[in-house]
Symmetry: D2
Subunit: 294 residues, 4 copies
């Protein structure tokens, strides 16, 4: 297939690389052009604009940092919508608002194009290994068309049906599950630490009993090791995802008190100079409040 790829950050690069390795023809666009060098040296074509990457493609993927980036690269004369052929598919894999997903779908429909949201769960090593979890929603024609490349990217695809905004809402919800699990464990690590039980000991008990999911093991390990710098994903990204969740919850009139708590935690991290750390450093807030920080 002819595939366009917009966005070559820590997630987009290994994902695009897998499609290239699988034999697809790849055109890539990234604002900072040098990030495309490696893929170009492996056979990808460099595109100067999102429109150029989308032109001639059967499918164009976007993997960008936030709503603002997607809006600026999707719309306008050089944007994805302007470049994409009739009946071709735009697959948004970014963690963006359900609302933007709905607006993108409408824009593509007006141009006779297809749109799907295929949000992904997993960090860069999982992207590299094709072991992402993918949450998919969009028009059936779009979902069928992209099934094969998605199988290259992820270990499992959860298909939600027609409404792309739902894939974005689920993705925000899964991220919330990560953040709130970190908070949950952090409160207990701090409490038990003051009670004489080391975080590593509690971690051992938790992850070998009822709390043995990847979310417990992976993030609990980061916390126990205080392995926050350099960050896998830094605080502003988590603050952004949580903000999108809060906005979606407001639009649907659903109180989410744990997300409110997370908001205040991430703001305190920002205020106290921890914004550059991995968001798992959220655990420092419980330790700070407990008088455990130096």
């Amino acid at each position: 297939m002819k595939i366009g790829w917009i966005g070559l950050g820590p997630m987009g690069t290994p994902m695009a690389g897998r499609l290239l390795d699988a034999g697809h023809t790849l055109a890539v666009f990234n604002r900072t052009q040098s990030r495309a060098d490696d893929l170009v040296s492996r056979g990808a074509r460099r595109a100067d604009t999102p429109a150029a990457a989308a032109r001639d493609a059967d499918i164009v993927f976007s993997m960008l940092a936030n709503d603002e980036a997607v809006e600026s690269l999707a719309y306008g004369g050089n944007g994805i919508v302007a470049g994409l052929a009739c009946d071709a598919v735009h697959v948004s894999t970014s963690t963006i608002s359900p609302d933007l997903s709905t607006r993108l779908q409408r824009a593509h429909q007006e141009h006779g194009q297809l749109y799907a949201a295929a949000t992904v769960l997993g960090r860069p090593p999982a992207a590299q290994a094709g072991e992402l979890f993918i949450v998919l929603a969009g028009a059936e024609a779009a979902r069928q068309r992209i099934a094969q490349p998605l199988a290259t990217l992820g270990q499992r695809v959860f298909d939600l049906g027609e409404d792309p905004a739902q894939a974005n809402l689920v993705k925000l919800s899964l991220n919330f599950m990560i953040f709130s699990t970190i908070e949950q464990m952090s409160e207990m690590f701090a409490l038990n630490d003051k009670g004489g039980i080391a975080p590593a000991t509690l971690y051992e008990i938790m992850t070998n009993s009822f709390f043995s999911a990847p979310v417990h093991k992976n993030y609990g390990r980061l916390i126990v090791d205080e392995n926050f710098d350099p960050p896998g994903a830094a605080v502003p990204l988590a603050l952004k995802d949580n903000r999108l969740l809060l906005q979606a919850a407001e639009a649907l009139a659903v109180p989410v008190p744990m997300a409110s708590l997370l908001r205040d935690r991430f703001l305190a991290m920002t205020a106290k100079g921890e914004a550059g750390l991995d968001f798992a450093a959220l655990s420092r807030r419980s330790r700070d409040d407990a008088g455990l920080l130096p």
Copy 2:
């Protein structure tokens, strides 16, 4: 070994039964005597008082509902402390306060007896199958003495060392992990439900990706099925465990905002006539706040 057992509720009965089946000589005490009938018919001796169950025993186990029950059966002329022989061991498996555990240890020490806390994670079927997780702490002599019967009761024993109060703190912490995971999932079930994604769908995605621990699967299943009545464990028990956690956190000066949230949730359940349901019905509070209850 000669073993005494105090407390034949839904957990104590199958646990005592396993020890009997393993060939130990068993003396049992329960306030409501008829609850001992089955074990007696299988060969256990009925004791009229906690002291009588403890007398002649190498080890006496207690599995009771709360601090008040333990205090009333441990102390006084007919209590465990009065009946237990010198050098024999009292193993408290109840979910009680760390503070009471410390006081029990002191009382037993003053009588030349040994004491350990061996708190258990798991519901009655796991007790039946000997698949409990056990968190153990107490004097080394006590821990050695009880190792074999504990292996009969649980699939794994986590040994914390000398201070019995730590086993109680960890147990309260693990229960908090359960309660707060329920709240966490419940907020997302309600949010996604209003966004058009059924709880069963989100459950499927969560438990097949990063959120695949028993805590997610077991309690998520109860929530999705709204399987709250009859309760496996009802709201007052969860409110009590959470209260003990809050008290321990106050004693150690550790803020635990998620536990504060849980407190308010359990109180609302009590006020709104949900106290008789399984504590997983906590999920109803998120649904109610979101306008999803009829």
Copy 3:
């Protein structure tokens, strides 16, 4: 003076009326034109656009519902900025975001115009009586120019200095003080009610001891009387003001946990069909959680 007035809602109408009564020449604009009828019959000139109301004016006031309304009437060919003469002053009295105030100031500066934010505290009867509290900020020239008409509108002007965004931040903060005082009283009304003490009794004690401010008396009275319908100001307005506060707090990296709680309360009100009530019906949430609603 020649004064333009944009926005004739429940607050704008009596405020504009006072300026007319004080002898100023008044041009008025409102989207729904009929709302200007009364002022026109008293001598005001009807303007067809915001620009027309601003043209020839020494000062143009705007009193609008939210950021969106202000943006749509300030900018564009028919907007305030397009119509206002050089050196004339735009006074924004609306409860809008500090961020929009900063952008308005910049736009007016670029056109050689002056801008000030003069936010007001008080409900329509206070506007009628000229007893509003006014929080003022903006360039000194602007503040001097508008001092006299502001004295006609309010009983007291608090002058914050040069930065208009500060007047908006303070206004949002004062509204937060109102909302959170309602929540505070509501929790106690519900608690004491279940303890056998009627809300009216607690109100009497509070407002005659340490809690005797207008915020206690006015909003406590609404709660005790359950006087929520028709609303003085309905829930969506409070939800909006609280959202602006949360956004401002995020921009400044300041956790505001009480505002987070209010957010969840207002969302629950929205979800449970209470959006049409006065925001003081926030008290119903505490009563609901306490099992006191029928």
Copy 4:
């Protein structure tokens, strides 16, 4: 009248002094006897036990730090109950739990004695000046008997009727109103400070508009001046009062989320070495979370 007084702390001493000055015969007891010296030099009789202070008295007042102190001085052979004459009245002015008040009433009834709770709002200077606010409840005979001395102690008595526990619940509620107002103002002081508006400026606006109650003026002043040391009343006292409120709310099944927030704040103060400060230093928590502490 013949009056006994138990408890000569910062509140009890000036209150007892007023009764002495009003011409009553006074017998005083305090654990640390030297605290009675001044009153004895002014004509009071020193009693060696609470019972001795109660004996011969028409009315015995108690003003003690907490439930534990009241229990230890009320009960037992040397306690108030043992010493008080038939038909004499015990007036508890301490901030204690509603539950203890109910138990005290029962004990006095069993001895043919009368009991009332007369809780007080105000700090030592108000006690000195007889300007306390008094919340009264108890048997009518008791209330009538003590009306005159209460008029000496307070500027106003709020009479709740028969059930003494209600006076204690109201007192805890009023203290909650103080604590939560401090939190409310503190969040706004921190937010506005980061927005460039000094706490003193916001204080000026608040206390001269809708937020002009003593609770705003007195505690806002302490916060603006950072006047926390030496404390008027230190953190452990506030933590205790808030704990009693939370316990009362649990007994009545009423969620009180703001009190939960206060609990976590006071615990963080304890953990971070601020326990010795005035409880108004609660404001430091908002500043800390906002990155404003050095």
